[in-house]
Subunit: 211 residues, 2 copies
DNA sequence: GTCTATAAACAGATAGAC
DNA sequence: GTCTATCTGTTTATAGAC
């Protein structure tokens, strides 16, 4: 139910509506009527399918965990052979993350929903932390550790990885500020590339100066 | 009224309650009764002093702009003489920002409120952008431009400054994730220092590799 | 499974005494 | 300026027809 097939029909429509509206306006600010209207169904179906508004929120969290499991895949079977390989893999993952955060068709809703749950301390947060954040961060730490020569789970390495991730996440969270200051109307392909190039340059500079 | 003396009495209590609760739970999720209770007054006083809940939100925004104006001060009169000076000033400002974001007695509420308004696209956002974000970012760009030898308002410079800021902001926004992964219970002095050292090291690595 | 109609709780705003 | 009591609209959840 967490890792299996995607939901269908009215359930899927309501979850899609939940991801979109909860992510955009927040949980409390979203009336059930708006959810039902966006999903082209009636308010009662929320209670029928999920037991209530709160149940829909949890179902959205489960769906996010499922989608992310699909995209991220297993945490890479073999470790890279050389420092150079580790650095390349780190850059590839960082670039993929920027693309996922700034572009992404349905990813936009997924990302917004997670960030909402994070800032609201919502119940879906634990789910996503265990299913995604923790394993992904460990994977990045293993690569960063190999690139710097330090232990993967050392405090410095974990903090270093967070500082790298933070740059990417900020461009999603601070989008309104950034776009206004940059004179952009949004993130199209050109802007995403500019951001990814900047962060890749930072990555190399930071890791090169490390040991 | 925007730059003058701080509010007093019931007005101040309500604004403090607004900053705290709006920042923590969001605007829509905060009932007026909770605001009145925290401010140790009655619900009617919100309408009396601010015209309504929305008015209180704006007053909170104005108060944030006022506090920030106090802390940030004027944008530094003279530019640094050498590249080395520019780098030192950048590091000092970055460290001050980390302390402001992670420590800070009343700053915690102030920061949370701004981030809420940012993510909700609230009306207080424009106020804070003009009063703080834009001038501060310009100041940082001037320093970064001097440190890298590029024009202060070049796209690369503006993006570089955002990537530096993003690291700092993320440690505030992602606090729940970060603390769980690091095994921290919160940000005390030791953790703040560790973060600031990490970001200062990143700053030097990035700017050194720039030109 | 889907829908309409309604119930019960709650929201923000306000009138009017003090 | 402060407060209690109340008004009016909206919310979520549910009962019951189809």
């Amino acid at each position: 139910m967490t890792q299996d097939d995607p939901p269908t029909g009215t359930r899927a429509d309501l979850i899609a509506a939940g991801l979109h509206l909860f992510g955009q306006q927040g949980f409390a600010a979203t009336p059930t009527r708006a959810l039902a209207a966006l999903a082209k169904t009636n308010v009662a179906s929320i209670a029928y399918h999920f037991g209530g508004k709160e149940g829909l929120r949890l179902a959205c969290g489960a769906e996010v965990a499922r989608r992310i499991g699909q995209v991220a895949g297993p945490p890479a079977t073999e470790l890279p052979a050389t420092r150079r390989d580790a650095l390349d893999r780190l850059e590839a993952m960082l670039r993929a993350m920027v693309v996922f955060l700034t572009q992404g068709p349905q990813a936009q809703d997924t990302v917004a929903f997670i960030l909402r749950e994070l800032s609201e301390g919502g119940p879906a947060f634990d789910l996503v932390y265990d299913a995604f954040f923790l394993p992904k961060h460990r994977e990045l730490c293993a690569l960063a550790g190999m690139a710097t020569g330090q232990p993967a789970e050392a405090e410095e390495t974990r903090l270093l990885v967070f500082s790298l991730l933070g740059q990417a996440v900020y461009f999603r969270i601070g989008q309104p500020v950034i776009c206004r200051r940059m004179g952009w109307t949004g993130y199209s392909a050109a802007e995403t590339t500019a951001i990814a190039d900047r962060l890749a340059a930072n990555l190399h500079a930071i890791l090169r100066s490390q040991p």
